[in-house]
Symmetry: C3
Subunit: 265 residues, 3 copies
Amino acid sequence: MIKEPIITLLTDFGEEDPYVGSMKGVILSISPKARLVDLSHQIKRHDIRQGAFFLFSLVKYYPKGTIHLVVIDPGVGTERKAIIVQSENHFFVGPDNGVISLAAQNDGVRKVIEIENSDYYLQPVSETFHGRDIFAPVAAHLAKNKRIEEFGSVLEDWIQLRIPLATINKAEIKGEIIHIDRFGNLITNISREIFQKVHDLQRSFIEIKINNRELQVPLCSSYNEVKKGDFLGIFGSTDFLEISKNQESAADALNSQNQDKILVK
Amino acid sequence: MIKEPIITLLTDFGEEDPYVGSMKGVILSISPKARLVDLSHQIKRHDIRQGAFFLFSLVKYYPKGTIHLVVIDPGVGTERKAIIVQSENHFFVGPDNGVISLAAQNDGVRKVIEIENSDYYLQPVSETFHGRDIFAPVAAHLAKNKRIEEFGSVLEDWIQLRIPLATINKAEIKGEIIHIDRFGNLITNISREIFQKVHDLQRSFIEIKINNRELQVPLCSSYNEVKKGDFLGIFGSTDFLEISKNQESAADALNSQNQDKILVK
Amino acid sequence: MIKEPIITLLTDFGEEDPYVGSMKGVILSISPKARLVDLSHQIKRHDIRQGAFFLFSLVKYYPKGTIHLVVIDPGVGTERKAIIVQSENHFFVGPDNGVISLAAQNDGVRKVIEIENSDYYLQPVSETFHGRDIFAPVAAHLAKNKRIEEFGSVLEDWIQLRIPLATINKAEIKGEIIHIDRFGNLITNISREIFQKVHDLQRSFIEIKINNRELQVPLCSSYNEVKKGDFLGIFGSTDFLEISKNQESAADALNSQNQDKILVK
């Protein structure tokens, strides 16, 4: 592990409340050399799926040994477990509700520990804010090179989400929208790999059906291959098919929402 | 003081304008080793009371010697004073309008200095942005171990807010809402200590009146002791009574606002 | 260059998507000692002009040798060039669309390099996210003291914006609003220098016309020289004339927008 370990923070806490600042204070009190990197605090409240996809999208760009502290935790105070996941290159600390799972699976899971050792908690532990009282101090102690086995015992059975895979039926691909970004791009679960099983990447147009609207859109490699305001299909920065409008919002134009179905003919 | 001093930033500047970035540049030009920690820039504009409560809620989690730079400053350019407050464990730099007071009182005030020494200002000093021209450079010089006496002389009479205390009348507690968080939790000024003077913490239900609506809500220690969408009372992460709805917004349901009255029978 | 180089980040990516976090990961993987400073990710999407003005306003407060990574890039994937600009005190990395130009001109441009050396790119380079695949890694390599000539060859002809200058016609100044801040202050392109050519800075009132509304407002040096809710004119923290309302929003009251015209008689 590097000398000034990186701890990233991903939460649904927003920035109007003192929750994120409290967690940062707890970490810096325990591990003064930790380098804090805000990933986002704007995950929709309680949206485990959005948090999981967010984390999945970017973990691979972080250096080996990074600790990712993830607090999207609608089940705080219930029997949901607290976990550390060690993957090939990263550590993750957060609730056992699936939010960590996509990123960790993608990197290759090596070990999952159920956090049980209250020596590493901030006392007294509130039943409403484990981010501050359990996850932040555990991440900070990890950053000081504590072995993960010191925090609890191995957990075999933890909650793992799957990105719903697009399915192929003859020449049609059935997928769904897994994220809509700030620019209104519709990011689908249709990977380049799946697409290639049915379609030629060199073809110039694809026919899609989305929200009962049928469109024929050009398959591009950059937004600006079409005129401003025109639709296009593109394999975006995460290598999934995106439906976009050049310099405008495809989501607004198509009135699309997360988890809407999409059909590619 | 530690070698790479922490300077936290708390403002009402938002993130669309260059104000926060200017302050960070000023600090790093003077004290290149300072570690900047954003607490929030989303305090409501000119809301001294929200800023004071925010700071009060989290200062205790920061390491000894942390410098808190607080710029919620509707009176910039008037005769309101600029101050440094040294408390038992922390330093605070900001306007003398009360925004620092709750946090400093809670930690134990040791000394208050009126900032007067223009050697430490960024010249020329604008009359509209002391955050950049006075508070940021003073915080940065503090981080370089300047003694606080070098910035000005002791101030005896400074502006101190008080959290309005809940009052007890026979078996009733009259309080008010002091903060509504992103999740719609209503945080009251009814501390666990005051509550215990009248009610048994072990009781299962409390009767409350809020916005002319009477509710009987269970007293819980975690949100999930009730069904999704049900109301509950809970002593939250700051040890004040909160009125919440499991996984929904109590504020929306009750149409509540900051400073609304609450009665607990 | 200092040992722990500062890299500032300015984008229109918002905080709901993994784009900013991806860039930070890329930088820290290449230059682990880089110090990341968020300027803002809340520039309006694709608003090159707002980004350029934002950067112009604050670059001078940063230490010599700071690297400014600027990704407001509606033309990603087109033939727009990628550039490094070295000015007297700073480095800038971003698209050649003008967003860097105001700040660099103001500091004194020394050299512009067209980024061409794909050895420094993250591979494979997507055609939709050069922020992550080109600009971030180039900024990170710059922070490791690579000479700028290693990234490409000198570019003579790059895109330079100009702040539209206010013009003088007899005793009238014609200007426009170049930014509206969070507090509703209307920041014009009328610099103190231009104003002085026509008006005495000591005068007490100015007559303005804005959105077909004529106002006589006092010329003040702080907001609080007028009563709460009254209009005023003031040379603000960037030394341009601002039309403000004490503790209220002038923009709301006058229904003003960016680029609205203003006439000072």
